[in-house]
């Protein structure tokens, strides 16, 4: 609810400050440029529901992008086939995370912090820190830059992934078990839920979607570099948490994640618009772009604070009303 309000406010504010914020062209631009982060946020949702986190998805994007570029540029693999392979590499990377987390019982934060460096390091080693790949056929680049049925092509891919993750989380026993594991992994184990298997699934999906995001990023930029997706993992976590998914696991919805992503994407785009069009006083306008990080932080903290505050209020009200079964204890005789 809070997020819907935020989105409406953003639209009103940016529309009055910057020109053409609400134009069809700009709106589709907003989504075209943030599809990758949206995909990562979707992929992160099941992981966070299990009470874990995957900090390696941004680095996984870099590694997948480089592997993809190498396959197409150096080995002449068909880009669509290479795209499938990139998704497979992502799944493998997710599998490595899953293995370390479920078999060795290492904390997800530490494991994915390790693979965060590992994957990025591999990507940089493969490109010797400087090389990039940019010879891609036009038909492939269309995925990143053309419209299909009036929407950016990659939005259709995004919508399919969103539908898939929504079904997984809200309509299958896997989603149910993610929540159970997030609330109490031990309790889930005692209920016969295959905790290791299902936790692994969440990380493998996250890796695979990161691979997909890499392919889409390359298609949009026309270039595959080792630095693809730097910092995206934290933006994705921000979107998920902003969307009301508990960082401790258990509760949250895919639609929440989507709203969190939209409000974040609009904030960034809107601020860029202000500075692009120089509607405001010039000094303020040039600051606007730098404000992005600050406002993202404020938005996150405010959303969390309001969420916690309303919840406290609700429980206090509930406690105040009912509890006739707990009369004050009488003193001992």
């Amino acid at each position: 609810m809070v997020l819907l309000l935020v989105i409406v406010l953003e639209v009103i504010l940016f529309n009055s400050l910057g020109r053409r914020f609400l134009s069809g062209g700009n709106i589709s631009n907003v989504f075209r440029h943030s599809v990758e982060i949206g995909l990562l946020a979707l992929a992160m949702t099941p992981v966070i529901l299990t009470g874990g986190i995957d900090l390696s998805v941004g680095s996984m994007m870099g590694l997948s992008a480089v592997l993809f570029g190498m396959m197409v540029n150096s080995f002449g693999v068909d880009p669509w086939l290479a795209g499938l392979a990139a998704i497979g590499f992502g799944a493998l990377g997710g599998g490595l995370n899953a293995l370390l987390i479920t078999r060795l019982n290492l904390p997800p934060l530490i494991v994915t912090l390790g693979t965060f460096s590992l994957f990025r390091g591999l990507a940089e080693a493969l490109t010797k820190g400087a090389e990039s790949y940019s010879a891609f056929p036009k038909s492939f680049l269309a995925l990143g830059n053309s419209d299909v049925a009036g929407l950016p092509a990659q939005i259709w891919v995004f919508l399919m992934v969103a539908a898939g993750i929504w079904l997984l989380v809200h309509r299958t026993t896997f989603g149910r078990s993610f929540r159970a594991i997030g609330y109490s992994a031990e309790g889930a184990c005692y209920a016969g839920i295959p905790v290791a298997r299902n936790t692994s699934l969440a990380y493998i999906i996250a890796g695979a979607v990161a691979g997909l995001a890499a392919v889409i990023l390359v298609a949009r930029l026309g270039e595959a570099r080792a630095n693809a997706g730097i910092g995206y993992e934290l933006l994705a976590v921000t979107a998920v948490v902003l969307g009301g998914v508990s960082i401790f696991g258990g509760s949250g919805t895919v639609s929440g994640t989507l709203l969190g992503w939209v409000s974040l994407a609009m904030l960034n785009n809107g601020l860029t618009r202000i500075s692009d069009y120089r509607i405001m006083d010039q000094t303020v306008a040039s600051v606007a772009r730098e404000l992005s990080g600050l406002l993202t932080g404020l938005l996150l903290l405010a959303a969390l604070a309001i969420g916690a505050w309303t919840k406290n209020l609700a429980t206090r009200r509930a406690r105040g009303q009912s509890h006739p079964e707990n009369p004050p204890r009488s003193s001992p005789p």
């Binding site: 299958t172 078990s177 929540r179 159970a180 609330y183 005692y190 209920a191 839920i193 258990g250 001992p332």
Partner: protein
């Protein structure tokens, strides 16, 4: 629930005073009150003639009260000397640590209790009894006048026991008062001067040990009559559902368990805490798989390596710790009830909300669960209703063997008898029930046969006719001459 009701307890200098009682009789609570970990809400406490109000753990230490718990609370990464030093020295944040003096003091204390432990050893490397000795050295060094020992011999070997008894006798010689908690009656009779028996949070009397026999002690502990509120057993048990042949798991300390459970029969499993009863259940449920012996279920020899497999085989386990393992408190009751039956209820892994809600409503009606509806979170229900949700979860798996671990622990009286009626009805409908319980009345009232465990082994079978509180308690304590098979 009131854990202690008007208990009077008195300890003389130079006395070993034993504290005895069943599981849950209030011994631990009394100790917590004496050490300041819990506040009493009535009555008063005198130390050396002076009344103490608002006792806190640090104040208790100043007064010379030291407690040695079953699980020593030392810093595992520090050396023995450092641990002793930390307890004894009152150091401010910036005061010097006098390493030499700390070490020589530790050597002196360890020598006084006759412990062969190097002061430089890392505590992590010590065995449990050695750590207990370090704790005793700390208590000695702090000049404690009151030393409390909570089941100190539970993990000791014969030789270490003798050492400990010698230390206790030395303490007594030195005028220290010792409160000694143990389930081992022979120890109490050999060591203590007086014994206070607690039952249901009340003291049933303090007596000099020379005036008592083991049999009298047991009578004092169990005391009460088994009430007749338990639903009667009916019908003849059917086919053997489960038989165990020398089942064991070295990791959980259970070995050589052989038993049969028949359809329609309730087998009670009695024993003290730590006797290996829940461990046995966890072996059968595949949480800690067996490494010796065999399981035969419905005539088929099987091995169970994970809970999923146990469920598929028709074994259900209602765990002891309801809030941690039995119910996921944040999730709706309906989700909790279907959680163990996903493969059966949701073919192809697609949730079927109608089927789920139907099943939940059926159980809510059938078991008399007081919940606002299938969507009510588990945590919003009372303890008894949570337990019913936990039972419903396992009935939904359509089990052949139902293992119940402390099914009515922490449940109010009304819900308790409802749960008993449900258990009896399930047995009548042909379910084989294995009921682990520390509630003697429950074991006696509900069971068709009683298996008594001690030290990880099944030590005795008692039939319904021969079973009384005395015989079960004697077998659990191991005072009937027979020992572990």
């Amino acid at each position: 629930m009131r854990a202690l009701k008007g208990v009077s307890f008195e300890l003389q200098p130079g006395e070993v005073h034993a504290l005895l009682g069943e599981n849950g009789a209030g011994k631990s609570t009394l100790i917590k009150v004496i050490t300041g970990a819990h506040q009493a809400d009535g009555g008063s406490l005198f130390v050396a003639g002076g009344e103490v109000v608002h006792l806190t753990p640090s104040k208790a230490r100043e007064l010379g009260i030291a407690c040695i718990y079953q699980q020593p609370s030392l810093f595992p990464d520090l050396s023995v000397a450092e641990n002793i030093g930390l307890r004894l020295q009152k150091t401010g944040a910036f005061s010097r640590v006098r390493w030499g003096r700390q070490r020589s003091r530790a050597i002196d204390l360890l020598q006084r209790i006759g412990a062969e432990i190097s002061p430089d050893a890392e505590v992590r490397s010590l065995s449990m009894p050695e750590q207990q000795l370090v704790e005793i050295a700390c208590a000695l060094g702090s000049g404690a006048r009151i030393v409390i020992m909570d089941e100190p011999t539970a993990s000791l070997t014969q030789k270490e026991q003798h050492l400990l008894f010698k230390i206790i006798r030395d303490l007594r010689q030195g005028g220290v008062g010792v409160i000694y908690i143990s389930h081992r009656l022979e120890e109490i009779l050999a060591l203590a001067d007086r014994v206070t028996v607690l039952r249901d949070g009340e003291s049933v009397g303090t007596n000099p040990v020379d005036e008592l026999t083991e049999s009298q002690l047991i009578k004092l502990m169990v005391g009460r009559e088994v009430s007749s509120i338990y639903p009667p057993s009916e019908g003849e048990p059917g086919e053997v559902v489960l038989s165990l042949e020398g089942l064991g798991c070295s990791a959980s300390g259970v070995g050589g368990v052989t038993m049969d459970v028949r359809a329609g029969e309730i087998v009670g499993v009695a024993g003290l805490i730590g006797a290996g009863r829940s461990e046995l259940a966890r072996i059968l449920f595949g949480i800690t798989p067996a490494d010796t012996g065999g399981i035969v279920l419905n005539g088929e020899r099987i091995s169970i390596t994970c809970p999923r497999e146990a469920i598929a085989r028709g074994i259900a386990y209602v765990p002891e710790d309801r809030r941690r393992h039995g119910v996921i408190l944040e999730m709706p009751s309906a989700h909790n009830m279907t959680m163990a039956s996903h493969p059966r209820l949701f073919p192809g892994n697609w949730l079927r909300f109608n089927a789920e809600s139907l099943l939940a409503r059926e159980f809510i009606r059938d078991l008399g669960i007081k919940a606002s509806g299938p969507e009510a979170p588990g945590g919003s229900l009372s303890g008894g209703n949570q337990q019913k949700v936990s039972v419903a979860r396992w009935l939904a798996t359509r089990p052949k063997l139902l293992i119940l671990d402390e099914p009515t622990q922490g449940v109010d009286v009304g819900a308790k008898s409802e749960i008993h009626r449900i258990i009896r009805r399930l047995a009548r409908e042909g379910l084989a029930v294995l009921m682990i319980s520390s509630d003697l009345g429950e074991v006696l009232g509900m069971s068709d046969r009683i298996a008594v465990m001690r030290g990880g082994r099944l030590v005795e079978w008692i039939g319904r006719e021969q079973a009384d509180a005395h015989s079960v308690m004697a077998a659990a304590l191991g005072t009937n001459g027979k020992d572990a098979a």
